[in-house]
Amino acid sequence: MARVKPGEAANPAPPTVQRIRVRFAKRGRLRFLSHRDVARSVERAVRRAAIPVAHSHGFSPHPRLSWIGAAPTGSASEAEYLEIGLTRPLDPAALASALDAALPDGLDVLAAVVAAGPPLADLIDASEWRIELRGLQPGELRRAVAALEAADSVVVERVTPSGRRQIDVRKALVRTEVHHRPEGPGEPPPTGPASSSRVEATVCAIMTAVVRQTTPAVRPDDVLGALDVVAGLTPPVPAKATRMAQGLLDDRGRLADPLGPGRVTNRV
């Protein structure tokens, strides 16, 4: 009897005819999704939305979704990127709205364009993070950030699945800024038994940090770790970090939007 090659014989995968790049956000309580959780959710949403996604060939076909450096578990993002291979051409706007409708609230599609030019990975070499530190006086944060900037090298250690890694946060740091916001828009201050008694809800220091992409990537936690190393800064409640942008650094430390080469999206 002929050998059965089920994946290929029974289900020859149609070729990829178009790629669409998508920018999406990971918001609110969904910031606790890991990259694998996000990938799983998007795969299912693609199927529910009946987007004609291309599949890999072979025994166990996988949808052709390419991911770029995911925001860590616990961090929100306004700038995650994904490239979808399609078996028939689609209007990017139609794909964006269909995918957004199929995704759970908190995974929100922000933009989509037909892929063109260099690979997506070549259009991103840095991230801009916004780190919100409730219960911390902005002055205190400002002093710690100044100490970090004054150093040549600040190394923190991170435990990864492959062992302990030394990460030089200072080397990856391109630009920092400290703002303070007594009570901003967005989420209300935390209430409830855990936080209300100890935290002055109105005090909040906010930091913007642009970090260059390194291996391993410098995460918001590493930046906070570095502030602890240089200035003994320990936030009273866990910080909330949001990736605001990714892209190519220009010489003034700004990021070019990877979906529109040359277009600057993050004027600070």
Partner: protein, 663 residues
């Protein structure tokens, strides 16, 4: 912990929880928000009469796919006067932080404290979840002991298969529900709603008496248990004439009128089953004597071909899952299974939706089914459950599969392109000797040889997976002595030696097994009486959590707790587990009626000891197990006279870019 409970809007504990989540593993499991999850707004919360929290006392990754919870969640949320939210066990890392920061047990939907609900429904798929029940109650600020609760506290209702002997948790639950849950949750809702509308007249005591008068509901506190000098139960008697002497299970007769879940929950986190599930029938009359599920879910009730087709379609559309499991206790036994699999395989041909039949028997017919459902490309492995290694022991357990049948079946499978076969067995069965287990090795060797011959390849695999047998209530083996873990472990060592004795074949055989010790504790909890409650509580107080997980299970803790709590009362861990019971002994669950005649179970137990088989009443005359007459039910099998209705193709996604006109 939660203090005075307000009947008004209960605030979400999420802001407090959120501050803890960055510090725990896999925080996604605590945030809710899954596709098809239902989260009542405050106005609904205030408006409905009865609020249910449905607790699955195991990890989210295990509990989320549970069909029972998903069914009741939808059924309750469809009612105008009720709402239901889900809760799962929290891992010890979060439990510690919740205690430190006074965050109460919560639901993942509204993050409302468990203590604010009217009813906490707990689904027990296995007895090893009992300690997790205590964690949840304690974190919720609900008194552990039912007797200490008052009108401010939820009614704690236990269900699931383990509820057919709830005596070991009788102190901790208010009500145990026997049998199918679809209808009884509505009855409980009605009783609670009426009682609340009457201003909670008569207090909690009155509510419990009314619940005890509801068919299928057992209220342990309204029954008094006395013990004889030999340690066995002397009598179980109602404390009030308002409750029945025995409690009968509930049976949902027409599955087609209960097509749930309609909208499967789609988790963002990884879970044990990444698929949509459609229950194609409930109940099983194969009569495997070890199988509690097959005994307590009789009679067989099939969903119709049309009903299955609609549910599969709804589930795929609503979930985006790429796999649909056709569930039952023995899926190939559906009278219309060939039409189901062919019809669904045709429907989803060329899509990436795959089908699976998780529980199948060993025969050639199943290879045809397997080929049909794997048309979409996945042909990884086939699983069969001979359960016993020798012909003799298979007669004892009434699992009639001959070794020659198995070899013929796997040869066909290997010839058709399958490369791996998984075989499930049990160890520690009644009357078992070493040789019954060692014969598993010979069977596995023959599978490899047959596979090589049929496929012409050397790399075929056979995995044998062996679990320790646990005698369960309401089965013919409810009287049997459980094998001691040392016996099981010794037999498994001999089996491993026998597998490896022939290296040329043995190297293609994988062996997976569970140690005997957790099985013994499961046996204690399965056949225990109310005296075992103190053991559960002591183990929990000493840190016992997640007993179904080997990294958390501590045999020593259970043994010590049994010595401390049972031996002063003249009984012991051994007394409850490795002791054979006599015909006249009052069993802790004798007043709970699964429909099976006690005399029939005893006769079947005697037949087992004599190695006599019992047929299946779907194809042979009724053998008077007792279920149908006592429950007023009948087997509900096809042909259903329905067809798998064609559906509109699902591949109609967003409109194309260039040729938007082709619609």
């Amino acid at each position: 912990m939660t203090g005075e409970l307000s009947t008004r809007t209960t605030p979400s504990v999420f802001p407090a929880l959120e501050a803890l989540l960055p510090r725990v593993a896999k925080p996604v499991q605590y945030v809710g928000g899954e596709l098809n999850a239902q989260r009542a707004d405050d106005a609904t919360w205030d408006a409905v009469a009865v609020r249910w929290a449905l607790l699955y006392p195991d990890a989210y990754e295990v509990g989320l796919p549970n069909q029972g919870v998903q069914i009741l969640y939808e059924v309750l949320n469809e009612r105008a006067d009720a709402l239901a939210e889900r809760a799962y066990a929290v891992w010890p890392d979060l439990e510690a932080l919740m205690r430190e920061h006074a965050v109460p047990a919560f639901t993942v939907d509204g993050h409302r404290p468990l203590g604010a609900f009217d009813v906490v429904g707990v689904s027990f798929a296995t007895e090893l979840g009992y300690t997790n029940l205590l964690t949840a109650l304690d974190l919720a600020g609900i008194p552990l002991h039912a007797v200490d609760r008052d009108e401010r506290h939820p009614v704690v209702v236990g269900g699931g298969h383990a509820a057919f002997n709830p005596e070991p948790i009788a102190d901790f639950i208010d009500v145990a529900v026997l049998g199918d849950g679809e209808e009884v949750v509505g009855d409980i809702t009605d009783v609670v709603a009426a009682w609340k509308a009457e201003g909670r007249s008569g207090g909690r005591g009155e509510l419990l008496v009314r619940l005890a008068a509801t068919p299928g509901c057992y209220v342990p506190s309204l029954y008094r248990v006395s013990y004889g000098v030999d340690g066995a139960i002397a009598e179980v008697a109602p404390t009030t004439p308002r409750v029945p002497r025995t409690v009968q299970k509930r049976t949902t007769v027409d599955l087609d009128t209960w097509p749930y879940p309609k909208k499967p929950l789609v988790p963002m986190a990884e879970t044990v089953h990444e698929r949509a599930s459609v229950e194609i029938f409930r109940g099983c009359t194969r009569g495997c004597r070890f199988c509690q599920a097959g005994m307590i879910t009789r009679p067989v009730r099939e969903r119709s071909l049309q009903g299955i087709g609609e549910m599969v379609d709804t589930a795929v559309r609503a979930s985006g899952f790429d796999e649909v499991g056709l569930l039952s206790l023995s899926s190939a036994d559906h009278s219309e299974i060939a039409q189901i699999t062919k019809g669904l395989a045709d429907r989803y041909h060329g899509t990436n939706v795959a089908l699976s039949l998780p529980s199948t028997r060993v025969d050639a017919f199943n290879i045809d089914l397997a080929n049909e459902i794997s048309r979409n490309g996945r042909r990884s492995g086939l699983t069969f459950a001979p359960e016993g290694g020798s012909e003799r022991i298979r007669r004892v357990i009434n699992k009639m599969v001959s070794e020659d049948d198995l070899i013929r079946t796997v040869s066909e499978a290997f010839a058709q392109g399958w490369r791996q076969v998984k075989l499930y067995f049990m160890c520690g069965l009644p009357t078992e000797e070493d040789d019954d287990v060692v014969q598993i090795a010979g069977m596995a060797h023959r599978v490899i040889q047959a596979g090589r011959a049929a496929s012409g390849r050397n790399d075929v695999r056979c995995t044998i997976s062996i679990g320790g047998f646990v005698p369960k209530p309401h089965t013919p083996f409810q009287w049997a002595a459980q094998a001691h873990p040392d016996v099981i472990d010794a037999r498994l060592r001999k089996l491993r030696e026998a597998v490896n004795a022939n290296r040329k074949v043995g190297r293609n055989v994988g062996m997976r097994y569970h140690e005997g010790q957790p099985s013994l504790v499961e046996g204690l909890l399965a056949r225990g009486d109310r005296r075992v409650g103190a053991v559960v509580e002591r183990v929990w107080r000493e840190g016992g959590r997640f007993d179904g997980w080997s990294e958390h299970f501590s045999y020593g803790r259970w043994v010590a707790a049994c010595a401390a709590e049972l031996e002063p009362q003249g009984v012991s861990l051994e007394w409850f587990t490795t002791r054979e019971r006599g015909r006249d002994e009052v069993l802790p669950w004798d007043h709970l009626d699964s429909g099976l005649e006690r005399d029939w179970l005893w006769d079947d137990w005697q037949d087992a000891l004599d190695g006599r088989e019992q047929d299946d009443c779907r194809w042979t005359p009724c053998f008077d197990c007792g279920v149908c007459p006592s429950m007023g039910t009948d087997i509900e099998v096809g042909p259903s006279g329905t067809t798998l209705l064609p559906i509109t193709p699902i591949n109609t996604g967003p409109r194309p870019h260039a040729d938007a006109g082709d619609g």
